[in-house]
């Protein structure tokens, strides 16, 4: 493990992505297996709680079922308590690093982009995580949806400077 500190690179990465890797440590690739395991458990929860079900998403947006509200609501409550505890008790990572939090800045993208994302969410019944689980259940055509989600991301990057933020 060696410490790396590329400030400029970090700023580019954190530009507006919420998925920032805060760790300043560099590990061998196999350290990533633990994230694969968390993802694996997460995928099983997705399927078993039918969070990735197109029907559950339709029920949610038609106010026909409490299920998805219960899932998201209780997930947020547990998340809030967890983050509070990490800050309060100053819990470190398993490598002894301090857990870092960054405040998000508001920009118009959260409104415009949010609305567009919502349209896509309701039409496909998928967000970027569930697409992977949907493919896993054998609906291979969702690979096409995933591909066009990547295309959409690329097109956003291409026109980013011209879009209102």
């Amino acid at each position: 493990m060696k410490n790396i500190d590329k400030k400029i690179d970090f700023e580019t990465r954190s530009l507006d992505t919420v998925c920032i890797n805060e760790s300043h440590l560099e590990h061998k690739w196999y350290h990533n297996i633990k994230y694969l395991m968390v993802g694996l458990l997460f995928g099983i929860i997705f399927i078993k709680a039918e969070i990735i079900s197109w029907y559950r998403i339709q029920e949610m947006f038609r106010f026909q079922s409490f299920h998805m509200y219960g899932v998201i609501g209780s997930a947020v409550i547990v998340g809030v308590i967890s983050v509070f505890m990490i800050k309060k008790l100053n819990i470190k990572t398993i490598y002894g690093e301090k857990v870092e939090f960054h405040d998000k800045k508001f920009n118009k993208g959260q409104i415009i982009g949010g609305l567009i994302f919502g349209l896509g969410w309701a039409i496909t019944g998928a967000c970027p995580g569930p697409i992977f689980a949907q493919i896993g259940t054998g609906v291979t055509v969702m690979i096409v949806t995933l591909f066009f989600a990547i295309v959409g991301t690329w097109v956003y990057g291409y026109f980013r400077d011209k879009l209102p933020h």
Partner: protein, 187 residues
Amino acid sequence: MLEFLKQPWPWYIAGPLVGLTVPALLILGNKNFGISANLRHACAACLPANISFFKYDWKKEIWNIFFAVGILIGGVIAFSFLANPNPIIINENLRTELASYGITNINGMLPQEIFSWENLFTIKGFLMMVVGGFMIGFGSRYAGGCTSGHAISGLSNLQLPSLIATCCFFIGGLFMANIILPIILSL
């Protein structure tokens, strides 16, 4: 035990487990839960095209790609070994509405009468799989995150921008599900 696991899991089991993903990733290595970033990493890895938004060291974020592959494998495992043997129960009003569009087979996670390779080149299939996918990718990056990054991760850290984004996700979803989707499904 296996029989129990095969049942659909209730929200009060699944929700807290999803929430625990946030501290799990933070404690395992200071990682912020957010899956849509993988779409950006895919762009950065495959076709950065000299766009500054994609010029960064994506290899540093490879943990997230492992995470996404894990979700896919989890999907395979749950589908192969923990599949619910009973038919999926959906709201009667929704069932009636879908039947009026000719969607009667409600097995699986997605209606097979729409989400199939054969339908990809119909107008309905194109709008739902191709345009839908595009909107997910474009919208989530424009918003700076998706359901995991904003609605779960961001709200867990009490971020106002994430609350705004989450509300907009819902407004967009309500509009699509109730106003536009019925038209598309009638095509």
